[in-house]
Amino acid sequence: MADVVPTEEFIALAGGRVHLLRAGTGEPVLFLHAAGGAAEWLPFHGLLASSGFEVIAPDHPGFGKSDEFPEAEAVDDLVFHYLDVLDALGIDRPHVVGASFGGWIAAELAVYAPHRIGSLTLLSAAGLRLPEHPVTDRFLLPPAKVVTTLFHTPPPASPTATPGAPPDLDAVIAAYREATALARFCWVPFMSDPKLERRLGRITAPTLVVAPSDDRLIPVEHARRYAARIPEASYAEVADCGHAMYVEKPVEFASVVTGFLGARPLSGAGR
C-alpha cells in the first residue's frame, strides 16, 4: 500500500519551474516539505496516497528540483508562490499539510487566503517567535549532531556507509543550495514571522496541530501555541519521536493525519 510510485511533474510559473511529486486518487492534499525532504517520496507520503487522497508534493523555490525563484525572498513571497502553484494546478481548496518550515508556509497561507484552504495540518511547524522557547540554530549544527538532534531514537548507521569516506560532491552542493534557500527566507527574523501569531485568528479551516513528543529542533511549545491561537484547532502528540517526525514514525504520523483528513471532507462546510 505504501509503495505507491509517484509521478514526477514540472509546472511552469512566471518566475521559473516548480518540481512536484504526485500520487493517489481522492481529495487533493498539498504537502509542503520541511527544510529537508524536498523531492523525496517517503513511506509516509505513500501511506497518505493509499488512504484515499491525491498527494501533491512540490519542492519549494531553491529546493530539490525546483528553480530558484530569486525574487522570492521572504515567507510572504512563498505564500503568493503557492497561491500561484494552486492556480496552475487548478486546485481551488485542498487539504494543506506542512511540516516544520513547510508548516510555517502552510500557516501563513491559511492566514492570507483562508478561503483557499480546505483543512490545515501543521506538523511541528516553524514560524512562531517564542524567545523563551528558542528554535535550535540548524545553521550552526555540526554534522555529527544532526541525527541526534532530529531523532528521538537515532537510526543505526547505514550498513553501506563507509566511515571517513569523502562526501559526495553533488550532495554537498545540493545541500548548500537548499541551506541557502532556507536562509534566504528565515535568517532574520530567525525561523519566524513576528506578526504571524496575532494573525492566526484569521484561519477558518479545520486545523490539526501535531507535535513529536521529543522535538529538539522546534520546542513542542511552538505547536501548543499554534493550537491555542488557531480557532478550534485540534492537537496531537506522537510519542517517542523527534523532529524527524514522519521519517522516524511514518505509520503513526500517517495515521494521525489521515484520521483527521478523513473526518473533514472538503465538501463539508468548514469546521
Binding site: 545553521f139 550552526l140 562526501p167 552542493i173 541557502t180 532556507l182 534566504r184 535568517w187
Partner: protein, 338 residues
Amino acid sequence: MKFSFFHLMPYPYLPDDFDTAYESTSLTYPNANFDPALGASLYARYLDELEYADQLGFDGIAVNEHHQSAYGLMPSPNLMAAALTRRTSRARIMVLGNAIGIRGNPLRVAEEIAMLDLMSGGRVDSGFVRGIGWEYFGHSINPTKSRSRFNEAHDLILKAWTSPELFAWYGENYEYRYVNIWPRPVQMPHPPIFIPGAGSTETMKFCAERRYTYMSVYAPTRIVRRWFDGYRQAAADLGYVADPEKIAFSVPIYVADTDEQAHAEGRPAVEWLYHKGLRQTAAMVTPPGYNVAGVAARRPCRGNARVRPELVRGPARPGAGGRRVTGLRGQAAGRALR
C-alpha cells in the same frame, strides 16, 4: 615596494583547556573569558606597536574589523584609526577594512572615513570587506544578501564621497532620501580603496575596473601568485597594465639573524594564530549563501584552521638588506607587490 604593519589585535590569553573545551575563539567563545584589565593593557600595547611602526618608517599601519572574537579585538577599526591619527604623523593609516557587508548603515562608514581623512591630513586608505562567516551569525545579517549588501554599500559610499550635490538613494538593501555628507574627505576624488580577494575572479574584475588595490588574504604564495596573475589579466582585459603598487600581498613575516632563530621564535606565534586564533567550525566559515554553492563545495573547509607547513617549515629566503625574511608572526604582515 612599500611595507605596512598590519595589526590583528588578538586576545591571546586563552585558557589551558581551550583546545578541548571550545570549538572556536569566535561567536560562541564565552566573553566571561575576557578580562577587561588585560584587554585595556592590550589596547595600550597594540596602539603603541602601531605608533612605533610609524616611527620605524613603515609605509602604512593597518587595522581591521572583527566581531565577537578573541581572534581580533577591533569591532570598530575606525575607532583605532582615529586614535592613530593623533599619535602618528607619516604612515598611511590603512583601514583594511570596514565590513560593509554586515553594516546596517553604510552612510555612517562614508562619514567616518571622511572624518578620518581630515583628522589624518589625508593619510587614510579605505578597505572594504564583506565580513567573515561567523559575523553573519553574530550580527544577524542574512548571508544570502552578503554580496548585494557589499556592492550596494560600496556604490553608495563612493557616491556620498564624490557627489557634488545632495542625492537620494533607493536600493535593494538601503534607502536614504537625503545623502549630503559633512564633512567630505580631503583626498580627491576619495581615499584610496583596498579590496581583499581570495581567488574570486569577480573580485579581481571589480578591482581592475575601478583601479583599486587588490589585496590577498593570507594563503600559500604559489596560490596568491595565481590570484595576482588573475588581477593583472583582468586589467589587461580592460586595456591597461596593472600598477604594481595596487597589488598588496599579505603575509606573516618574522625577521631574525638566522633562519633557526626566526623559526624558533616565530613558531609559537604562528601556531597560535592558525591553531587557536582562527579555530572555527565549518558552519561558521561558510554560512548559507555566503558563497555560491559550487565554490563552497570546491573549497570544503575542515573547520579548524589548517596547518600551514609552508610557514613553520618552509625554506627561508633571502630578504631585504641581507637579512633573512621568513614565515611568521600574526601581527606583522607585509603590503608588497610584484
